[in-house]
Amino acid sequence: MNREDQIAEEAAAWIHRLNQPAIDAAAGPAFDAWMAAAPRHREVFAELQALWQSEVLVEALGQVRGVPVAASAPPVPRRWWDHGRRSAAPLAAACAVFAGVVLVPPLVGSTTYRTGAGTPKAVVLADGSRVDMSGDTELRVRIVPWSRTAVLVRGEAFFDVRHETSRTFQVASDSTSVRVLGTAFNVDRQSATRTAVAVYRGAVEIGVAGQANLILRKGEAARVVDGHIAALARVGDTVPDWKSGWFEASDIPLGVLIGKVQRYSTRPIVVQDAALQALPISGRFRISDPGKALQAVQAAYQVEVSYGPTAISVRPIGTAHDR
C-alpha cells in the first residue's frame, strides 16, 4: 500500500470512529494529534468527510443496491473473512462500545420501532409527533437538534407530525423521501422499490433518489414504483384506510396486496407463481382479517388458497400440489 492509500484508510477509520454514538476520552486528543501531524492528513480527512456526508453518495448507494435480502432471512455466516488479512491498525475496535466521554454535541443514535404481524401500535416521538404503525412494520427514527428523520424499513405508517419551522421531518422509504414541516400523511412501503404516499393534512414534498419531484397537498396521493412517480386517486378520510383494517386496491399487483395482508398474518403467505404475483387486483379488502381477505381474492380471481401447516399458499387454480 502506498503512503497516499494509507492516509486515506487512516482518515476513513477516523471518520468511522467519530461516527460512533460514543467515543472514549482518549480518541479526541489522538484524532487531533493525527490531524496535526501532516497537512495531507487534514486534506484527505476533509475530502473524505465531505464525501461520506454528500447527497451524491447516498444516491449512488441507492442506485447500486441490489434487491435487499428479506429481513427474515437467517444471517449468512461469512467465515472466509476470518482467513483474510488481519490489520494491525491501531484504530480498530471503533465498533466496540466505549464507556468513556461523549464528544459534544453528542450524535444521538436512532431509535427503532417494530411491530409484529397483526399488532399495530402507536408511538409518540421525542418531538411530540405521533406515528401509527401497521402490523409487521419497522421504523427507524432519529431526532436531533437540527433534523428529524425516519426510515420506513418495511410496512406502513401514518404520521401526524408536530409543526416546527426550523426542523423539517423527513421520511425515507427506499429511494423515496417525503419532506414535511408539520402535517399528517401515510407512507406504505409495499415492496423494496414501491412506496405509496397519501396526505391527510398540510402538504409534503416527495423526492425520488435525492431529487424533489412533486408536492402533494391534502387529499392527494401518489406512488413511486422503481423510481417513477404516478398520481393516485384522491383520499377522502382524515385517517388512512388501513387504520380501520381495510385496503382499497385499484389495479395493484396481487403481490402487493398479499404483502399488506401479510402484515396481519402470523403465518407466511406464499405466492410462488411470478405471473400470479403481478396479477392486477381491484377491490376493497379487509386486510386485518387475512382469512376473509384471501377468501375475497379467491372468490374474485382465478386463484386457490390452501392453508398448510406452516404457511398459506396462493396458486393459480388447478395447480395445487398434494400435501
Partner: protein
C-alpha cells in the same frame, strides 16, 4: 462600546496552542466540497471558528477538529435548509428547486464515478456501505445481520470509503480539489 472580538486568550489556563491557520484551511476545504456557493463557504468557516473559540473558553475541548467538523456540518445543513425555504416561499413550483444545469452535470459525473467504484467493490463491502450510510444501521446490527465480526465491518467501511475517495481523486472530481 463595541463588543470585543473573539480572540484566543493567551493567558487562559491549560489552553493548547491551536494551529488556527491549519484548522481554517482544513474546514474551508471541507465546506468547499459540500457546497458550490463561495459566500456560504466564507460564512460557515468564520462562524465555525468563532464558535470553536467560544466553546474552548467555556470548557476544555475533547477534540477541536472533531467539534469543528461537527459544527461546520450543521451550519452547511442550516444554509441548505434556509435556501430551500426561501426558494419554496418565493415560488411553489417544485422545478424551481432543481439544481442549476452545470451543477447537474457535475453531480451526474460524480454519481457515475461513485456508482462505478461501488460496482467494482466486493458485493459484501458494498452491502456494508449501503447499510451503514444509506440505511443508517449501527455496526452492531450490520455485524449481526451479515454474520461478520465488528472489526470486519469496520474494515469494510474504511476500505470502501478509501476506494471511493481514490476513484473521485483519480477523476479529478473531488470538488474540494478543483477550487
Amino acid at each position: 462600546m463595541p463588543a470585543p472580538l473573539h480572540q484566543i486568550d493567551p493567558h487562559a489556563d491549560d489552553t493548547a496552542v491551536e494551529d488556527w491557520p491549519a484548522i481554517t484551511a482544513t474546514l474551508s476545504r471541507y465546506v468547499r466540497a459540500r457546497t458550490d456557493r463561495a459566500d456560504v463557504v466564507e460564512d460557515v468557516v468564520q462562524e465555525t471558528l468563532s464558535r470553536l473559540v467560544h466553546q474552548g473558553r467555556i470548557q476544555k475541548l475533547v477534540s477541536i477538529y472533531a467539534l469543528g467538523f461537527r459544527i461546520a456540518a450543521n451550519l452547511v445543513i442550516d444554509h441548505h435548509r434556509r435556501d430551500r425555504r426561501y426558494v419554496a416561499e418565493r415560488e411553489e413550483e417544485p422545478t424551481s428547486q432543481m439544481p442549476l444545469p452545470d451543477r447537474i452535470l457535475a453531480g451526474r459525473q460524480e454519481l457515475a464515478i461513485l456508482k462505478d467504484a461501488l460496482a467494482a467493490m466486493p458485493p459484501l463491502r458494498r452491502d456494508v456501505l449501503v447499510r451503514r450510510r444509506l440505511q443508517g444501521q449501527s455496526c452492531a446490527v450490520i455485524a449481526r445481520e451479515l454474520g461478520l465480526n465488528p472489526k470486519a465491518v469496520e474494515k469494510h467501511i474504511t476500505r470502501g470509503l478509501a476506494d471511493l475517495h481514490k476513484a473521485m481523486a483519480g477523476h479529478g472530481a473531488a470538488r474540494g480539489d478543483m477550487q
